[in-house]
């Protein structure tokens, strides 16, 4: 069923009786050409682009819970292409271009809103670093505008410009940056993949990976054995457990990242604002809630909830930056399990097992990557070769020293 404005109106006139489920609920077949483990954003977009770009439709996505129940439905939805290092820069640039056409591509309203992202800086040294980053973005073909203090004041008059600990020197504006509706992205890709013939199988946990003579043969699941010629591991925070089923030890440590949302307010924050010195960032959802977050809880954890010290820290940072939000009531807070890599950058690569591919290490920045990650993972699985814009996301880069340490913080999983 194609969605359109006309459809909404006619359905409204006739009691909304004509809507159909957005995807089927198939039982798993005994065998597929390709199996994707994990029905998050990256697994669903991989399946979608396998069908769309490569005509491979005998594909199943196996999800242990429900589609979109992982990080793809728990994140704060910032979409941007402001990366600096070659390897990251072209990948996120490609992703942002896919975002810009995503709604018509999927015939689904993912509420992608390019409201502009402003990264604040508070010292001369930080300004220099942001000028450099802005130039890298422009060289990549994306957009960046350096704002001085008065320039920031024009956009964000409500910030505390009298703060003496972190005086606002200016900001880097990325006009094409913004946000999107996280669930809708998962649902849109799910529906798109389903319509092209992909089987989306929920409540199906992969418990083993079958390998014979170094070649992948299929997977063991809670809904039986499923054979496959190729298998992709796309399970974000659970990457270490699933890769261990194939005898691998990954350069990943799982950490908790928390986020918060307030009650709905009238429009007040028009941009996405990030205050790196305070480990704080914020935007306002279309429903009116202020959506904000901070840093990791900083220790390895699989509990999908965080600790109070980080709650306190994030609230303090928010109050430091914009005291006006002090009266807003926080409705909810939650945590997601982040697959942290030692350099803060992801992996999209082959493994030592033939036909087994790995997509992981998205840290806390994998939402914006959903379109390009699926695009590149599908390319890798279909052709056996890495896609041009993802060729540096190699699994062996840690042992060879070709790190992609965007923040320059060193080889430690919790420092990115």
């Amino acid at each position: 069923m194609r969605y359109s404005g006309l459809k909404v109106i006619t359905e409204g006139l006739f009691g909304n009786k004509g809507w159909k489920p957005a995807w089927r609920e198939p039982s798993p077949k005994a065998e597929y050409d390709m199996v994707i483990i994990g029905g998050g954003g990256h697994g669903l977009s991989t399946a979608y682009y396998l069908a769309r770009n490569h005509g491979i439709t005998n594909v199943a996505v196996l999800e242990k819970g429900y589609l979109g129940g992982g990080n793809v439905g728990r994140n704060t939805t910032i979409v941007r292409a402001n990366y600096f290092l070659p390897g990251n820069s072209e990948f996120y640039s490609h992703s942002l271009k896919l975002w810009e056409g995503l709604e018509s591509e999927l015939n689904y309203n993912v509420m992608h809103s390019q409201r502009g992202l402003i990264n604040l800086f508070h010292s001369d040294g930080q300004r220099d670093a942001f000028v450099r980053r802005g130039n890298a973005m422009i060289n990549q073909g994306d957009d960046a505008i350096l704002l001085d203090r008065e320039g920031v004041r024009e956009h964000l008059p409500y910030l505390d410009f009298d703060n003496t600990r972190f005086p606002i020197y200016g900001g880097l504006l990325h006009p094409r940056g913004g946000s999107a509706r996280h669930d809708a992205v998962a649902w849109g890709y799910a529906r798109g993949a389903d319509r092209r013939g992909v089987d989306l199988i929920q409540n199906c946990e992969v418990t083993g990976i079958d390998i014979e003579g170094g070649v992948v043969k299929g997977v063991q699941t809670t809904r039986g054995v499923i054979r496959a010629k190729k298998v992709g591991i796309v399970v974000a925070g659970r990457s270490s457990q699933v890769a261990a089923m194939a005898g691998m030890r990954l350069p990943i440590e799982s950490h908790i990242l928390q986020a918060f949302v307030t009650e709905g307010l009238k429009p007040v924050i028009n941009h996405v604002v990030s205050f790196g010195m305070g480990h704080f960032y914020i935007s306002q959802s279309d429903k009116g809630g202020l959506v904000f977050g901070g840093d990791l809880d900083f220790y390895a954890s699989y509990a999908a909830r965080g600790n109070l010290p980080m709650v306190e820290h994030v609230m303090e940072a928010g109050m430091t930056l914009m005291p006006m939000i002090g009266r807003a009531k926080v409705l909810r807070s939650w945590g997601g399990i982040m697959d942290m890599s030692p350099d803060g950058s992801p992996v999209i690569d082959r493994t030592h097992v033939e036909g087994l591919y790995l997509n992981c290490g998205w840290n806390y920045g994998g939402f914006k990557a959903v379109p390009a990650s699926g695009w590149c993972m599908a390319h890798l699985m279909a052709t056996g070769e890495p896609h041009e814009v993802a060729r540096k996301f190699r699994l062996d880069r840690f042992s060879t020293g070709h790190l992609l340490d965007e923040e320059g913080t060193g080889s430690q999983h919790n420092l990115h």
Partner: protein
């Protein structure tokens, strides 16, 4: 989360700095093959369950601690001083 330091007693999580998995205690010898360094620096078991990791009692006694804890429940079951461990 609270951790019980063998010297200072039960303290708030904020007093401690988390470094990483127990792997950091097994530093390869000079000239060890690259694979060993990769193991030491990057590769992790990353269990969902009981793990051992290193914490520094930064706002307390300044000791390095080896903590046995559960990554799913945040319960810690044992805390040892790294300095008193037999190699």
């Amino acid at each position: 989360m609270r951790l019980t330091c063998p010297l200072c007693g039960e303290r708030d999580r904020r007093e401690f700095y988390y470094y990483g998995a127990e792997d950091y205690l097994h530093r390869p010898s000079e000239g060890a093959p690259l694979a060993e360094w990769d193991n030491y620096l990057h590769l992790r078991d990353n269990p969902a369950g009981v793990t051992k990791d290193l914490w520094y009692h930064e706002a307390g006694c300044s000791q390095w601690l080896l903590v046995t804890r559960n990554t799913v429940t945040h319960e810690s079951s044992a805390v040892e001083l790294v300095a008193e461990r037999k190699a």
